[in-house]
């Protein structure tokens, strides 16, 4: 059977997110509780979490989480890391045995920073240098897979139901100001851990529910800019698109949403001329990055979280607010189970981004 990346596997899903605008930190138990309420939306073939603010002691270093199939892969990858980065700390990621999570690969964590000489030689900025290195490992080092590479954040994922994945990774031991979670319902799967979600690139992490129909248009365009879609999943291509638009093209989060879930022409026509011009400009310039078909995504980034639905809202997504806390999920029950009383509860319109940032933070993801 083909591994993820050799074939494209459609999936249904559940997603959930919790965000503290004041930046107060809380452990992973609540997000596990939230996602496990939607147990029926997953089928045990993939679950995962992303936590932000979880590595305050190492916040200036890239935290690489890596799966290895073998010690040989680990050796080869570490040699490569050694040549390009200063490794500040390395350890196995602590896990707990459970009979519901099996066949685990070797799971390692490294806090790294690019070697100054290598960085200046490359004439790239730190982020681009790191991105290229991650893509290089994932495409060129057999048996090694970097599944998390941001600063002061980390992704934890596995083949299994999300609640079991959370238990396995001991998420109660981590505290963050933002958590997202994903339960996957792939139609079939070779059971590869790298294929579980969230998908992350540096500090961007995406959980997504849907199956986009624009996949190959998006993939073939974004691959022109150095990205390599090795997993053939929607989440992967959406992450690259977001990274490209926000970081490489300098768009704001709103503008990014206007590209990937662009308003219909009939809507644009009703806008004032100035806005029309910009919306038309974005649709024309980035026509190949329009995403069609059903999706609901939660984009986590260092300063906040963005929720976005496809333009027809073909996938459910609701948001609740209580004091400084924001809850986002595929279903209302996943919010009410952890926050029964809410100040505000709503369902964002298709194509309209809901953006939440740390108090005093900017609407910029970079």
């Amino acid at each position: 059977m083909n591994k993820e990346g050799q074939i494209r596997i459609p999936s249904g899903c559940a997603i959930s997110g919790i965000f503290s605008r004041s930046g107060s930190r809380f452990d992973g138990e609540r997000i596990i509780k939230s996602i496990s309420t939607m147990h029926d939306r997953s089928n045990g073939l993939g679950g995962g979490f992303a936590g932000y603010g979880i590595y305050p002691d190492y916040k200036d270093y890239y935290a690489f989480h890596i799966f290895y199939d073998s010690t040989a892969a680990k050796e080869e990858c570490e040699k490569l890391l050694d040549r390009r980065f200063d490794i500040i700390n390395l350890s196995k990621i602590p896990t707990r045995k459970t009979n519901r999570i099996t066949d685990e690969p070797l799971i390692w964590r490294y806090f790294v920073t690019p070697l100054p000489t290598k960085l200046s030689e490359s004439q790239l900025d730190e982020d681009e240098f790191t991105t290229r290195c991650v893509i290089h490992i994932n495409t060129k080092v057999p048996g090694a897979y970097v599944f998390s590479s941001g600063k002061n954040m980390g992704v934890f994922k596995a083949v299994g139901f999300p609640e079991d994945v959370g238990y396995f990774y001991r998420l109660e031991d981590y505290e963050g100001h933002c958590w997202t979670a994903h339960g996957r319902y792939p139609t079939n799967t070779p059971g590869w851990w790298g294929g579980a979600h969230p998908f992350a690139l540096r500090d961007f992490s995406i959980v997504h529910n849907g199956e986009i129909s624009s996949y190959d248009t998006n993939r073939r365009y974004i691959e022109m800019f150095g990205y390599r879609c090795t997993l053939l999943t929607d989440t992967e291509v959406i992450t690259y698109i977001v990274d490209f638009l926000l970081r490489k093209r300098g768009l704001t989060l709103e503008e990014t949403a206007q590209v990937i879930a662009a308003p219909f022409w009939s809507t644009i026509e009703k806008k004032p001329p100035e806005e029309q011009e910009i919306l038309t400009y974005l649709r024309n310039t980035f026509s190949s990055l329009l995403i069609t078909g059903p999706f609901s995504v939660l984009l986590g980034f260092s300063g906040g979280i963005m929720a976005l639905n496809d333009r027809l809202k073909l996938r459910s997504m609701v948001i609740g607010e209580k004091d400084d806390m924001v809850y986002l999920a595929s279903e209302e029950c996943a919010i009410r189970v952890i926050a029964p009383e809410l100040d505000r509860f709503w369902s964002p319109k298709g194509g309209e981004p809901a953006i939440f940032t740390l108090n005093g933070g900017e609407n910029h993801a970079d």
């Binding site: 494209r8 459609p10 999936s11 249904g12 139609t187 849907g210 199956e211 129909s213 624009s214 996949y215 190959d216 248009t217 998006n218 073939r220 365009y221 691959e223 022109m224 800019f225 093209r249 300098g250 768009l251 503008e255 662009a262 219909f264 022409w265 009939s266 011009e277 910009i278 400009y281 974005l282 649709r283 024309n284 310039t285 980035f286 026509s287 190949s288 329009l290 995403i291 069609t292 078909g293 059903p294 333009r311 027809l312 073909l314």
Partner: protein, 501 residues
């Protein structure tokens, strides 16, 4: 005895019971097949002159006529076909180059027919175009490489010039001269109604059509006929014709007998002189020369119009296109070897060039590999026959398609392939005023609008089935295609998987 006598290829069959001897077929057939013999008080047909254009069949008020293939034949020979033998007789007699019209009729692979389109089931909903918006608007032109902002952080509109179309289908170049004024009028008016563009072709632009500039692409070919400053200003875009799919590597030839009246004026050449477009542009012997022509045209028009470079699909097309994409051109039009023509040497039409499907796939892929796909839009032409071909072309990587033969068929063309004779019975490929008047431009406009609207409906249905509600998400979406009965190399070039994979 005549060595090359061959019992006619077609027989005109008249049902004597039905025929009222009204004589309409006599006046309608410009090839003088039909006549009435007073002496014998009966209709006579000269089958040998019939080109099988169906004009008489369609006009006969009592339905008394049909054209059938005669079953007269040479001894069967898979290698020496009737056509091959007849061509030898003809050349042995005249010593001349064989001429033909319309697209390559030979039994060559039509890849469109070996490609299938996807649809959603269960995991992803299809979208009903009757209930949800289904967008077909496309922009053709180069995309900006970076975002610029003004001092207030607002995005500056740094888009290079482009054309905006309501549908991804344009009418491709057919010169005034090769087709009639009424055919041109039908095309231009239909383009206006449809929110798309037609193409003047290389013969200049008739005075009547200068006012439709928003829907006109004007062409500059190697003969430079009819090219002057106002002409360049008269289009929404300018197309440099480097080649044509039906006759790659050679120029054009409009015989002097067609250079009459308005045509001579429009082309800016004397009446009766042959209009010969040289094979190359004599100022373009290399890619850097192309760049100069692109920029001279941009200079001449104040950088307000996108420049299209039209090239025939030939073996090395991917590299050629990549050179063009770096030459300042905004759009590349690729013309496949099945594309039509008003006249071309038969050997060239039938043997030179490659299929558009393969050319398009390899060009789109190469431009992406080089990271320059955003420099240009791609238009694919050279036998797009129906809406499914359009969808497949877009999914392979085209931003829009050119149609011409299909548009002429909508106007009445019956693909008799006799365009070079100048006696088109349907008023299309002719300058004979009596024949031209048979084509009513208003009726032509209506039929073209109907055709493209019908295709657009079908495209929307297919898009909806795939769960795509905007045409830009179809462009380059090769995962939506599968091949049937194609070998591994063909699939590799097309960049698609085989059905069942």
């Amino acid at each position: 005895m005549q060595i090359d006598y061959f019992y006619p290829e077609y027989e005109v069959v008249r049902n004597k019971e039905k025929c009222t001897r009204c004589g309409l077929c006599v006046s309608q057939c410009s090839n003088h097949v039909h006549s009435y013999s007073e002496e014998h008080r009966r209709m006579i047909t000269d089958d040998a002159k019939c080109v099988n254009c169906h004009r008489c069949v369609c006009v006969c008020p009592v339905g008394a006529l049909k054209i059938t293939g005669s079953n007269h034949q040479f001894k069967h020979n898979a290698n020496w076909s009737r056509r091959t033998i007849m061509e030898i007789y003809s050349q042995a007699e005249t010593g001349g180059v064989l001429l033909s019209s319309m697209g390559n009729p030979k039994d060559m692979p039509v890849y469109w027919d070996k490609i299938l389109i996807n649809a959603s089931q269960v995991t992803n909903p299809s979208i009903d175009p009757l209930r949800e918006p289904m967008e077909t608007k496309v922009f053709l032109g180069s995309k900006p490489a970076s975002i610029e902002r003004d001092e207030n952080g607002r995005i500056r509109n740094n888009l290079p010039p482009h054309i905006a179309l309501d549908v991804p289908i344009l009418f491709s170049a057919m010169s005034y001269g090769s087709i009639s004024l009424n055919a041109h009028a039908s095309l231009v008016h239909a383009a206006v109604d449809l929110g798309t563009c037609y193409n003047s072709g290389e013969g200049g632009l008739h005075d009547d059509f200068y006012r439709y500039s928003a829907n006109t692409i004007i062409q500059v070919a190697s003969g430079r006929f009819g090219v002057h400053k106002e002409y360049l200003e008269a289009g929404a875009a300018i197309e440099i014709k480097m080649g044509q799919g039906a006759k790659p590597g050679i120029g054009g030839h409009l015989p002097g007998n067609k250079i009459v009246g308005e045509i001579s004026k429009t082309r800016m050449i004397p009446e009766g002189s042959d209009a010969i477009s040289p094979a190359p542009h004599h100022d373009i012997y290399s890619i850097e020369d192309l760049r100069q022509l692109v920029y001279s045209l941009k200079e001449a028009t104040g950088y307000k119009k996108p420049i299209i470079v039209k090239v025939a699909a030939v073996h090395n097309i991917a590299s050629i296109a990549s050179g063009i994409a770096r030459s300042g051109a905004d759009i590349i039009a690729l013309d496949g070897f099945r594309g039509g023509t008003g006249a071309a040497p038969t050997r060239i039409r039938d043997n030179v060039g490659i299929p558009i499907e393969l050319a398009l796939a390899s060009v789109d892929e190469r431009l992406r590999q080089e990271g320059i796909r955003g420099n240009v839009s791609l238009i694919a032409g050279g036998s797009i026959r129906n809406s499914a071909d359009v969808v497949k072309a877009l999914a392979l990587g085209a931003d829009a398609v050119y149609i011409a033969t299909g548009a002429l068929v909508a106007l009445g063309c019956h693909l008799c392939r006799g365009c070079h004779s100048g006696t088109c019975n349907w008023g299309i490929a002719t300058q004979d005023p009596a024949l031209v008047s048979r084509l009513d431009p208003e009726e032509g406009r209506r039929r073209l609008v109907n055709l493209v609207s019908a295709w657009t409906h079908e495209i929307k249905e297919m898009m909806g089935g795939m769960g795509i509600n905007s045409i830009e998400a179809l462009t380059g979406n090769r995962l939506m295609l599968r091949g049937v009965g194609l070998n591994a190399k063909e699939l590799e070039v097309l960049g698609i998987m085989h059905a069942g994979e």
